[in-house]
């Protein structure tokens, strides 16, 4: 089944077109959409992993544990939506930690200096989106590689935070935030979880159903094709980084409320897990393929594993080792299901499927070389 799918998606080229054109039932064509199968697998593993937590502690599984995982996963999940969107568009973002911290620290400092909480939150989110927009402009208009641009903005922001907050290692959280993300409950379920459910719905609608969302997929699948199709590729790309910044900002506000304060290392532990969650969730690092539902699954899987490791007497480092192993596993899994095909290196994989990398078949099929060089990375 998987081999058949991979050959089909490989020969059809553009995944969106493949889904729309296929004759069989809507369910089957939906299942064949790239990332859907992967998302289902990840969620299936999550459903198995939570009861399996009993191996590490007899107190698991419990409602309390599930609640914990959902709350901790919510922070990561919100940040991961931003990272996922950027990766979906064919980019990369290393500024996650700094922007989370900037947003939390800004809101805390604003309210501490006598500003209103609501305005503080709005301004903090604007700052976060603004930083994202700066990265986006650098990537889209100045053609700086995303990897470098976001590394630079992240460093600049963290340096500026250090300088501007000299003498204030930590800012207290506004009371309203503390009440909402720290202790608040509705119908016995933490407010954070309700908030996250709302966020996921908005995010899925934005990504799957709006024009902007579909454009991001198009840009991620190939800038050249998107440009030739008349899409405003640069504006879409810049917009993606701004939305991502906004997401990190929201995560920063949530974390500030949850941990009742914002210090300068607020977002430090979120960069690698956020990227890991995106990769585990089945988003192709080359762009154009993946779903947010899968990313939330990846987030919950990593959070469950982290939760389990913390419950054992194992060193904290093993959590990281396991995260890395899970990321690698997810990469290999997506390789097996053919979801990493296409993109710049697609040529070689297509050739391999045809039965080898020898010189012979390459001589027979020289035509893909040109488009391969004109990829988004050049």
């Amino acid at each position: 089944m998987s081999a058949q799918t991979s050959v089909e998606s490989g020969s059809a080229g553009q995944p969106g077109a493949a889904g729309a054109r296929s004759e069989p039932s809507r369910l089957r064509s939906f299942m064949r959409r790239p990332g859907v199968m992967h998302a289902l697998i990840v969620w299936a593993i999550v459903v198995v992993a939570i009861p399996a937590s009993r191996i590490v502690s007899p107190a698991f599984p419990s409602l309390n544990q599930i609640e914990n995982i959902a709350v901790l996963g919510a922070f990561l999940g919100v940040a991961a939506f931003g990272v996922g969107l950027v990766i979906l568009s064919g980019g990369f973002d290393l500024s996650v930690s700094s922007v989370i911290t900037a947003s939390g620290v800004f809101a805390g400092a604003y309210v501490q200096n006598g500003g209103s909480t609501a305005l503080g939150i709005v301004l903090a989110l604007l700052v976060a989106a603004g930083i994202g927009a700066c990265s986006g402009i650098g990537v889209a208009y100045l053609r700086i590689p995303p990897f470098i641009m976001t590394l630079a903005t992240g460093t600049i922001v963290s340096g500026a935070l250090l300088g501007l907050n000299a003498g204030h290692p930590s800012r207290p959280a506004p009371q309203a935030l503390r009440d909402f993300f720290g202790t608040g409950r509705l119908l016995g379920i933490p407010d954070t979880i309700w908030f996250f459910i709302g966020f996921v719905i908005v995010a899925v609608v934005l990504q799957q159903l709006t024009t902007h969302g579909r454009r991001i997929y198009a840009v991620g699948n190939g800038e050249l094709v998107a440009t030739l199709s008349g899409l405003p590729v640069r504006a879409v790309t810049a917009g993606v980084y701004a939305i991502a910044g906004l997401c990190y900002g929201i995560a920063g506000i949530m974390l500030t409320g949850y941990s009742s304060g914002a210090n300068l290392s607020l977002g430090n532990d979120y960069l690698l897990p956020a990227i890991a969650a995106v990769v585990v969730g089945g988003v192709s690092i080359k762009g154009g393929r993946g779903t947010y539902v899968g990313v939330v699954g990846g987030t919950m899987l990593l959070t469950t594993v982290g939760n389990d490791i913390s419950a054992t007497s194992l060193a904290e480092g093993w959590k990281q080792v396991l995260y890395g192993a899970i990321v690698l596993g997810a990469l290999v899994l997506s390789l097996g299901s053919g979801e990493s095909g296409g993109g710049r290196l697609g040529l070689r994989r297509r050739l391999r499927r045809q039965g080898g990398l020898g010189v012979g078949p390459l001589r027979e099929r020289p035509e893909p070389v040109g488009p391969g060089r004109a990829g988004p990375g050049s």
Binding site: F92, L94, G138, L142, I144, P145, F147, I148, M149, L151, A152, T153, G154, T155, I156, S158, G159, A160, L162, G163, A166, L272, I275, A276, V279, S284, I285, K286, A315, E316, G317, W318, K319, Q320, V321, Y323, G324, A325, V327, L328, L331, V332, L335, S340, L345, L347, R348, R349, R352, L357, V359, L362, R363, P366, P368, V369, G372, R373, G377, S378
Partner: protein, 330 residues
């Protein structure tokens, strides 16, 4: 490679095209930047540039130069390698926890750490070259795992690096010549030889156009395996030298290398699209990056803002490279 200026035999004013080629040559530009910054620093330094000051500067530069060397190789091949931070962390922690103050132990640990780096690189090369995984994603997973192993070995900063190991590496020969300077020159020579070997030529070919290289009979997968393997070894050497300089262990010591290693490569004028770059440019880039905080310090800028300036310089360097590349293409 085409942008490397050929030696001028008879003196003649270079043509406009030649000037543009020189401006686009990252090695020349980073060397000029380095010399200018060095001059500013020396001018403001009380007592001028002494051998001691130079040794201090090069000591901070050298780990970065090794890390940048490895990163340059991978960038030229057209990939990205995030595992540099993980290898440096693990190497540092390994030295700080396992090395005893005896020659035998020092040699043993150096060999083991080098092998760890090499093995990591070969794993990366296998994942990227043979499994066809995207380099950022594959090296991200090894990076996360290595950081985990470093944390398992040493949960919090601590440990001591024996002086038997660190003293020779940080010494001043005859009170005038820093050992680090000799090592840096050696590193530059390694590059000059390497890029003329069969592997070096193939490396540039793979980075410039993978399909064309494949069609010309270059074994792309093996070249990638060797590239990442060699890069991993360089990261391990960076971690060893870093440990000798700081004298202690920290499971997160490698994290700053993620930014700085790529910044040195950008400053050195390598193309992030692959196929173009020079480790000598990177070595000067490492010098520039180390000099920035020192120059800021003598100019009286608060140390908080060092990373702001480094980030701005990184963007500027990449922008400059993009602009000059366009000038030459015109």
């Amino acid at each position: 490679m085409s942008t490397v200026a050929a030696p001028v035999r008879r003196f003649r004013w270079p043509s406009a095209a030649r000037w543009r080629a020189i401006a686009a040559n990252g090695t020349v530009m980073s060397a000029i930047t380095f010399v200018v910054l060095l001059a500013i620093w020396t001018y403001y330094l009380p007592g001028g540039l002494t051998a001691f000051q130079l040794n201090n500067l090069l000591g901070l530069t050298i780990a970065l130069a090794f890390a940048g060397f490895g990163t340059t190789l991978v960038i030229i091949s057209g990939g990205f390698d995030l595992s540099v931070a993980g290898v440096v962390s693990l190497a540092n922690v390994w030295v700080a926890t396992k090395m005893q103050d005896s020659t035998g132990s020092v040699i043993g640990v150096v060999v083991v750490v080098s092998l760890i780096g090499l093995a990591t690189g070969l794993v990366n090369g296998f994942l990227v070259g043979f499994l066809g995984l995207e380099s950022i994603a594959a090296t991200l997973s090894t990076y996360i795992m290595l950081t985990g192993f470093a944390l398992v070995l040493l949960a919090a900063p601590g440990g001591v690096v024996p002086t038997t190991f660190s003293d020779p590496l940080t010494a001043l020969l005859g009170d005038t010549v820093p050992v680090a300077l000799l090592v840096l020159i050696g590193l530059a020579l390694v590059w000059l030889v390497l890029r003329r070997t069969r592997f070096g030529v193939n490396l540039f070919a793979v980075g410039a156009d993978e399909s064309a290289a494949e069609m010309s009979g270059v074994r792309v997968r093996s070249v990638k395996l060797a590239t990442y393997g060699l890069a991993g070894l360089m990261y391990a050497l960076a971690g060893l030298y870093y440990s000798a300089e700081v004298g202690t262990g920290d499971p997160n010591s490698g994290a700053p290398f993620l930014l700085t290693a790529f910044a040195t490569v950008a400053l050195g004028g390598a193309s992030f699209a692959g196929g173009r770059g020079s480790a000598i440019g990177t070595i000067f880039g490492a010098g520039v990056l180390t000099l920035i905080p020192k120059v800021l310090f003598v100019l009286g800028v608060a140390s908080f803002y060092t990373s702001v300036v480094q980030g701005v310089v990184l963007i500027a360097a990449v922008l400059l490279a993009i602009l000059t590349a366009r000038l030459v293409q015109r």
